[in-house]
Symmetry: C2
Subunit: 757 residues, 2 copies
């Protein structure tokens, strides 16, 4: 009995429509369907996306995840009055996303302005068993008197990405009285999408179809007797045709057959099949916490749900978008978020998915090589924002400069190069966690060589030492600096790992070893001060500071940019996120606890946490340093990025990386998991709010569960696993309990085996 | 004192939003701005169009009038609650379009769900004095207590034509604290649009700007004391750059200057300038009626307003769209409606505009020639639907076939050729009304020759006689027939007029005279039966009839297509509009009153009037035949096409032709004006509901006013005008009263001059 939590939308409000539309998205890694209401609201942004289906809408635009024709919308009229929760009265309301199988449910009683009272119940899910399947039910019950109802639903091709249209209509077709089919092609002609919908009305109804202005609609009208219900069951089959052998006509016919087969099974049978798939994932990967804050388990379940929902396990040409499949923020592009914040989850729970995500980068090496060459460098410079092709997709402009009235250019694509080292970091961790030799011989060697080669060519010589100039670290409030500590250390790590691993799994390119050696010898690694504080870059320490309390109170909303232009922010010690703390997190073996604490103390007051990537990392580093109260507070703050009260926090999608960070915080923070020098380390230490934490992971192909209490940790492993617990090397097999007191009281660091319980 | 009427929107309703958005459009022949509310509603379709600015959005699409970025929208929050009339309470409501100067006004008192009560007043107009100018005011008054207000308005580039996006964003820019500017290019790159908006808030407010997802917005928040008002004055300058000498940058700077000059004048001064222009038009062209039905004057003022608002007098490369500038119906295309239903109004009130409309066809002759050649004919075959280039723009598909589920192809572009003769008919009438020799020597000769040449090549020989096969007449419920009476007679007229006029103003092409003579000799003109009834085509009379009462009761809604496929309708005596009655109207000198009555009697029961062009013509023919009660009833029905109660009659725009028909019905029906054998005929006869009808017209450059009562007609002319009154030739100069009794009692047909009053 898993007893998985649900997410509740506490009340209808125009202000939170889009937040919950993102948070409650039904997705299965293949498609994402925003949790919009069936009825329209002006502020409500509908969204249906297929992972990896990008298109560029015109000049000055970049590729973006296409918002496909909508099938979710159902316009209902009750006695001629349009059903909307803005008018009449909502007498009861319940809405929840069932994390256990991704079913979204709503049940409400509505009294129209003219007095007709109906119960409206709806549910939907996108199937984990059949990826192209989206199933919906919409039920109306006449509570007091007979009512006349009119439904209008179909396939609505007027959807756009904020006005950008990507699709040309190829055909609209109706089969019999209940099946609709539309086919669209991207305007570039590279891909086609076929949407087929079966709409069954459970009562006798007058039905007609309309096809006009990109909408193919079934319109049904009926009389419903008092006490009776009518259910509209809509089963949708949404697929992409690209480079298929089948003609569009044959393909469409196949879609029709697939749809009809599914529709014949009916909603409940389809849901059971999907549910069974979901349960496998929950059983294998769920993190369970016993906390005085019930919201903590909800946050962990939210993270598990979305990590499964956002990940395109079916297609290694596609990676995870910054908003998953929940919205159009960042245009569905892939950032370093994937390797640093999301990949560790997969690596430690489903390593084949981590492999697929790294394969995505490997397959996009040509674009990364081309970008490096275009800029005069060697090796691979991965695009800051990536879509399907691996070309650079970063948009040209961001917000309006408050001083000049001009739009501000986005510099990340030009200078935010640390991503190259982040990818190499993920490759190395993949090896450590899997010992996947086949991968290392091919993808691993290529990725490490190309990324290291980039850094070697990127460095410039200044008085005999090598420096990295004009970069942007993760802290995007500080642009175009020299010797950003994060970048330099990560680049050094990248080259060092290449030099270490490439000869083991392949061949070093001629001259590489010498160049790499020279780079490692001469690259300037900023030195910590006496307390261990690293300067973020060459000029950072000389900049003025201001009181950031006002902005920190609104972390994540970038309110500083309402008072200062970006150029002004750049000239002060103002951090969106703290690079050095991030570096402490990334390379735990390189920094002592004392150094980490010193950097936290220095940078935390200077960090607004306007990046959703920020607080969780501070939390993990704090927890690793034993600052559990701080760590827990920051972890909780991190969960609130999406789950907090701010009504517009997630309008254009959830923060995928923050979702990964919820898992990371629990596992790398409080379970104290880290990979140091290639080995698995555990140093569990729970915050006082937590009584227990259970984490299933996978290490070298072996399933290992960690059952942590304040007093002890019980490990369960099916085979021998060698790891370090609280600094002591142990080998786990079967179930073993390790008492915290024994470890920390014993002068000698040997583990006390208490044997299987 | 003109005492011009207004149009009232009686109450807010989601069902009538788009009807009134069309009916109350602010337009000046250059731009049209749909009368959408400032706040959004899900069903509400915003629209801002520039006459002649078309673009084709993708494969399978045709050129359509571009729905430009919106400037009308203002989102208001009162104490945090979004202002929408769907929630809270509307305590008072008034909304009207002032026909006299096209100002749209709304005043209402709204109580939010939480109890805050505000008065909201707004007004706007598009200037008749400065065509690119759209001025708006939006005022909020706090009625009971202090309120906090948030306004968000700007330039919203997310607008589409039902999901079709035509524009790429070029730049978004803010100047100071109140001017916004955006530039867009059509995706084809053929045209650019620059929109500049000044937004002044009359009270101290916190202002910030956002530029994201194609929206450039000014967001202002302020506290308003009880009893105080705040006015947001928004002045917009909307221009197109195409083939300009100025660079986009210089052009944009000029737009900024123009906008700032206007904004400095302020709303009221701008409105006065526009109002003065409107008044010139009213004084010169208004038809005044004294009727027991006040709605009759409203209908005539509605027609006058929209005839002025829809007509692009500034640009002869552009003609009048089927929905004017009020909506996207028929994609903004130009049909025969322009020449037959709209041009007569201009011809008889402002002949230079009629000339410009004919120039549009003349300038598009290359496309018409190409279309004829592509189909194996000679001369000019004008496109059934025309945009700017003169290419055929008819979409491929219409509605879904209710039997097959496939979309039905639109056949008009293939076979609805009568339009060619309609254009020639308008050229000939233009000559008669103006005696514009310069036009005839150039445009007239070309248009008559090319259209006649088309018909000569279009005819086929059958047993020695010439026939026109596979055509569609105005009645589109009967497709692909041979020898459609309307088409054959109009084609004959076209060739005859060419043969008559071309030698007078130019030179006949070699061989043309012989071919034309032969055509006139041998073209089959269907013969009337003993009563004078003409068969609509070769096969019509043999088809079965059904009872149409059910469909006639819902005339205009094409409900027959819910019961029968178009193919089935085609095989019955079912008319969308009656071709033969239309022919009786077009060529009055060819048909006796008895013949007209016989055709009305035969065809009226078989005609559903599903075309908006239908009833008004029946009304005119009835009136001309002395059937004044029928004529009046049909004229009134015609006015109700847009002004009636049907909530969705005009959602995608008003019926421009029906607007022309309101004028035609009064002038050609009850004032009895016709052009017969090139001469002006008047035969006024008022329905019993009308006590007086005053019509100003222009004939041969002379202004002539007709002041008609049941007993007499008083004519006023500044110079000698020769015309026929009730069948008697007279010459009018100065003011002269003609008593009806004198004319009809006198055995001899001479006019009784009563002298100036």
């Amino acid at each position: 009995m898993l007893n998985i939590t649900t997410l509740n939308d506490p009340a209808f409000s125009p202000h939170t429509l889009n937040k919950y539309a993102s948070l409650m998205t039904c997705a299965n890694g293949y498609m994402g369907v925003r949790a919009t209401h069936e009825e329209d609201y002006t502020q409500q942004v509908r969204g249906l996306y297929l992972a990896g289906l990008y298109h560029c809408a015109g000049r000055g635009e970049t590729n973006e995840l296409i918002n496909l024709p909508d099938v979710v919308g159902i316009q209902l009229e009750v006695n001629g009055a349009p059903f909307t929760l803005l008018s009449g009265e909502t007498e009861s309301w319940q809405r929840e996303l069932d994390f256990s199988d991704g079913e979204l449910r709503r049940e409400l009683i509505w009294r129209s302005a003219s007095g007709a009272r109906v119960r409206i119940t709806s549910r939907r899910f996108s199937s984990m068993a059949q990826l192209p399947l989206l199933a919906m039910q919409f039920t109306v019950t006449a509570l007091d008197e007979d009512v006349s109802l009119a439904f209008s639903t179909g396939i609505d091709g007027t959807q756009t990405n904020s006005g950008r249209q990507h699709l040309d209509e190829l055909s609209l077709r109706v089969f019999g009285q209940q099946v609709l089919q539309g086919a669209w092609a991207t305007q570039s002609g590279d891909a086609e999408v076929v949407i087929t919908s079966s709409i069954q009305v459970s009562q006798q109804a007058e039905i007609c179809f309309t096809a006009k202005n990109r909408r193919l609609m079934q319109n049904s009208t009926l009389q419903l007797k008092a006490g009776d219900s009518v259910t509209l069951e809509k089963i949708n089959w949404i697929v992409q045709r690209s480079r298929e052998i089948l003609s569009l006509e044959s393909f469409s016919r196949r879609c029709l057959n697939d749809l009809q087969t599914s529709a014949a099974m009916g909603y409940d049978a389809l849901r059971n099949a999907s549910r069974a798939e979901w349960h496998k994932g929950w059983q294998a990967r769920r993190v369970v916490v016993e906390s005085i804050n019930q919201a903590d388990q909800v946050a962990l379940d939210f993270a598990h749900y979305h990590l499964a929902a956002m990940t395109p396990r079916h297609d290694e040409r596609t990676s995870i978008a910054a908003k998953g499949l929940t919205g159009e923020g960042y245009k569905g592009h892939v950032f370093w978020d994937t390797e640093v914040f999301l990949l560790p989850y997969h690596l430690l729970t489903a390593p084949s998915t981590a492999r697929s995500l790294l394969r995505y980068r490997y397959l996009n090496l040509p674009g990364a090589r081309a970008k490096a060459r275009r800029n005069g460098w060697h090796g691979a410079l991965f695009p800051w924002e990536s879509a399907r092709s691996g070309e650079e997709e970063t948009p040209e402009f961001a917000a309006i400069n408050i001083r000049t009235g001009l739009r501000q250019k986005i510099a990340s694509a030009q200078a935010e190069h640390h991503l190259v080292a982040d990818i190499a970091w993920a490759v190395v961790n993949y090896w450590h966690a899997t010992h996947d030799e086949a991968f290392m011989r091919s993808e691993g060697v290529s990725l490490l060589t190309e990324t290291a080669t980039f850094w070697i060519s990127r460095a410039v010589e200044v008085n005999g030492r090598l420096e990295l100039h004009d970069v942007i670290g993760p802290d995007e409030y500080t642009e175009h600096v020299n010797n950003n500590a994060f970048t330099n250390y990560m680049a050094w790590h990248n080259v060092a790992q290449a030099l270490y691993f490439v000869p083991q799994f392949g061949e070093l390119q001629p001259g590489f070893a010498a160049r790499a050696d020279d780079f490692l010898q001469r690259l300037w690694l900023p030195e910590p001060d006496a307390q261990g504080v690293l300067a973020q870059d060459d000029t950072f320490m000389g900049k003025p500071t201001i009181d950031l309390a006002k902005y920190k109170a609104k972390a994540g909303k970038q309110t500083i940019l309402l008072d200062y232009s970006r150029a002004e922010v750049n000239e002060m010690q103002i951090l969106k996120q703290a690079d050095v703390v991030m570096l402490n997190y990334m390379l735990p073996e390189r920094f002592s606890t004392a150094a980490c604490l010193a950097n936290l103390a220095y940078y935390e007051p200077r960090t607004i946490h306007d990046s959703s990537l920020s607080k969780a990392i501070h939390g993990i580093v704090s927890a690793r340093c034993g600052q559990l109260a701080d760590g827990y507070r920051q972890w909780r703050d991190g969960t609130l990025i999406d789950l907090g009260d701010e009504p517009h926090s997630s309008d254009d999608g959830i923060h995928a990386a923050a979702t990964g960070a919820i898992w990371l915080g629990a596992v790398e923070g409080f379970a104290g998991l880290s990979i140091c020098n290639g080995e698995l380390h555990l140093a569990p230490a729970l915050p006082v709010e937590w009584q227990r934490l259970c984490v299933p992971i996978c290490w070298h192909g072996v399933s290992l569960t960690l059952d942590i209490t304040p007093e002890a940790v019980t490990l369960h492993s099916a085979a021998d696993v060698r790891l370090w617990l609280w600094g002591t090397e142990i080998v786990v097999q079967g179930q073993q309990r390790y008492s915290r007191a024994d470890f920390f009281n014993a002068e000698i660091g040997t583990a006390t085996r208490e044997g299987a319980e």
